[in-house]
């Protein structure tokens, strides 16, 4: 059996390791188009902060890991997939046949169509190559503008602040991380940033970049402008699916997959940022561009490739973010469901917040600020669809008792 995996990020690497265990005799080829050994993008902020070196971002620490497990790592960009012939083409023109194929090509950052954006001092923060370019320009006291205060923007924000730059964040939406945090949490995060010396301008967009001077001149739609040695773009991502044009593999926002991560074509699977699979909370097919879902889907797809039928219960939205030391998190249907109810604890002064969303006596979503103890219990309660019984009323009185609720519901007292 010849398994080919396109993409060597977390989804591809977890899939390769799982395949090796589940199908010891198979041939496994892992393709990637970046020059470095397989690495985790998530570790980039810590590289920028100087806490780790590049090797510290590698997904497998042992340089011989892949050879030892007889996984063939190959560098190359896949340019097309022929699903009839079960063959793919690489950028040099070589072709490669497969019995089972996993597409784990991840996503890439958007570059909004803003005049002047092609200046080399305008950078995305997505790859190790990006990180090196940013490290060159983001010296202590450099003026840096960050476009976008979404999840990735906020992660980068912390790393930039740690480098001691003078930072201004420009966000189109009315609050920070609008797609991960509710209005209370988003506004608390904004206040926190301002109190910690980061200027956050919400409700404004960048309209142009003038690179003719020594510094960039970043103009905004409120008529003002900001000088900058560096402009970082964090304006969302989109799946790497262009090379599938004409392949017949069905796509929407990402590659459409069923509950076994199988695409519309036999023997071809997709996982990670590129896949649009079942969302745990809504049952609809959604792209979840997050690490834990990439890892879970990589494992599940590999089991199915090794012909051990395994259903994926659906990706649960879950995020944890540290912003200048303030930890926030959200899970599942954090903005609530129709006919549901909620309870919350809110202490703006002390930056403490926990909002729980229920559907009848089940927890379906949560948002937290300043919460670091036992946060995983929120995933456990949501994803097990645990009936809370008497615990619902107890959580309504004190939402912080999530861990007691989990233990109380699952252990014989």
């Amino acid at each position: 059996m010849q398994h080919v995996i396109i993409g060597n990020g977390p989804a591809g690497v977890v899939a390769a390791d799982t395949l090796r265990k589940a199908d010891p005799q198979a041939s496994i080829i892992l393709l990637g188009d970046e020059p470095e050994p397989p690495y985790g993008r998530m570790a980039i902020p810590y590289l920028l902060e100087g806490n780790i070196d590049e090797a510290g971002t590698h997904l497998r620490r042992d340089a011989d890991h892949f050879t030892r497990h007889d996984i063939e790592l190959r560098q190359g960009r896949v340019t097309s997939v022929d699903t009839e012939a079960s063959e793919l083409t690489l950028d040099g023109g070589d072709s490669l046949g497969f019995d089972h194929l996993l597409i784990a090509t991840g996503s890439r950052p958007n570059r909004p169509p803003i005049p002047g954006i092609d200046d080399p001092r305008v950078q995305t923060c997505w790859t190790l190559a990006d990180a090196r370019a940013i490290a060159q320009l983001a010296d202590k006291d450099a003026e840096v503008v960050l476009l976008g205060a979404g999840f990735i923007g906020c992660i980068v924000l912390e790393a930039l602040a740690a480098r001691g730059v003078k930072l201004t964040v420009v966000e189109m939406a009315d609050r920070m991380v609008a797609r991960m945090l509710d209005a209370n949490a988003g506004s608390m995060l904004g206040t926190w940033c301002e109190q910690h010396g980061v200027s956050v301008r919400t409700g404004v967009s960048v309209t142009g970049v003038d690179g003719s001077g020594e510094r960039l001149d970043v103009s905004l739609d409120d008529g003002s402008s900001l000088p900058a040695q560096l402009l970082i773009l964090a304006a969302g991502v989109r799946p790497n699916i262009d090379f599938l044009d004409g392949s017949g593999i069905e796509t929407d926002n990402g590659i459409l997959v069923d509950e076994c991560l199988h695409t519309s074509k036999p023997g071809i699977f997709a996982a990670g940022d590129v896949a649009q699979g079942r969302d745990f909370s809504t049952g609809h097919r959604m792209v979840h561009a997050i690490q834990p879902v990439a890892a879970d889907q990589g494992r599940c797809a590999a089991m199915n490739m090794a012909v051990h039928p395994t259903a994926y219960p659906g990706g649960l939205a879950m995020n944890v973010l540290s912003t200048l030391g303030l930890v926030s998190c959200s899970f599942g249907a954090w903005d609530g469901v129709d006919g549901g109810d909620s309870t919350q604890l809110l202490d703006r002064e002390r930056f403490r917040y926990l909002n729980l969303q229920f559907a009848a006596d089940r927890l379906v979503g949560a948002t937290g600020i300043g919460l670091t103890e036992h946060v995983g219990a929120l995933r456990g309660l949501i994803q097990s669809r645990q009936r809370l019984g008497p615990w619902k009323a107890r959580l309504q009185r004190d939402p912080t008792r999530i861990m007691e609720a989990l233990v109380g519901c699952s252990v014989q007292l």
Binding site: R299, E373, G376, A377
Partner: protein
């Protein structure tokens, strides 16, 4: 056969010796808030329940880690965090459905039970036998593990 921590809430009196022993063993001083095993009080039921990592075979924490900072100790089966590798991203803390891997802001790393390398200090300190370390299938954590296996992700490739 590998041994497991056996937790029996019925024998727990809430004395907190386990939390003190755990933090002393792992942090070098007695600070129950940093203990990897925690005792939860259930006043309505008049019970206490010690609880910690089940060393589950799904190992959600390990798979979610972007830098391979969590590995399996071959002799004990424990999922162990390597401080020198952990970058403090906290993704494991949301991925673990048991809530038993926590971020410690003092160190900027995550902490979890590692079975003390095979000599768990909590079991040694427990005066009532509520926490024991045994060759047993019927551990108090078994139910929890089953609960996870049945109700959570079926992506349990190991």
């Amino acid at each position: 056969m590998q041994r497991s921590l056996v937790l029996d809430p019925k024998k727990c009196t809430g004395c907190m010796q386990c939390e003190m022993a755990c933090s002393l063993e792992n942090e070098g001083y007695v600070v129950p808030a940093r203990s990897r095993i925690r005792v939860f009080a259930f006043h309505d039921e008049g019970r206490y329940a010690p609880f910690t990592c089940t060393q589950c075979s799904e190992a959600w924490c390990l798979h979610a880690c972007p830098v391979e900072a969590i590995t399996i100790d071959a002799s004990t089966g424990a999922k162990v965090v390597h401080d020198t590798v952990c970058v403090g991203c906290k993704v494991c803390t949301i991925a673990c459905p048991f809530g038993t891997i926590n971020y410690a802001s003092n160190s900027g790393k995550v902490i979890k039970c590692d079975l003390c390398g095979g000599e768990p200090a909590c079991a040694h300190a427990c005066p009532t036998g509520a926490i024991t370390y045994q060759d047993a299938d019927q551990t108090g954590l078994d139910r929890m593990r089953r609960w996870a296996g049945e109700s959570l992700s079926s992506a349990t490739a190991q």
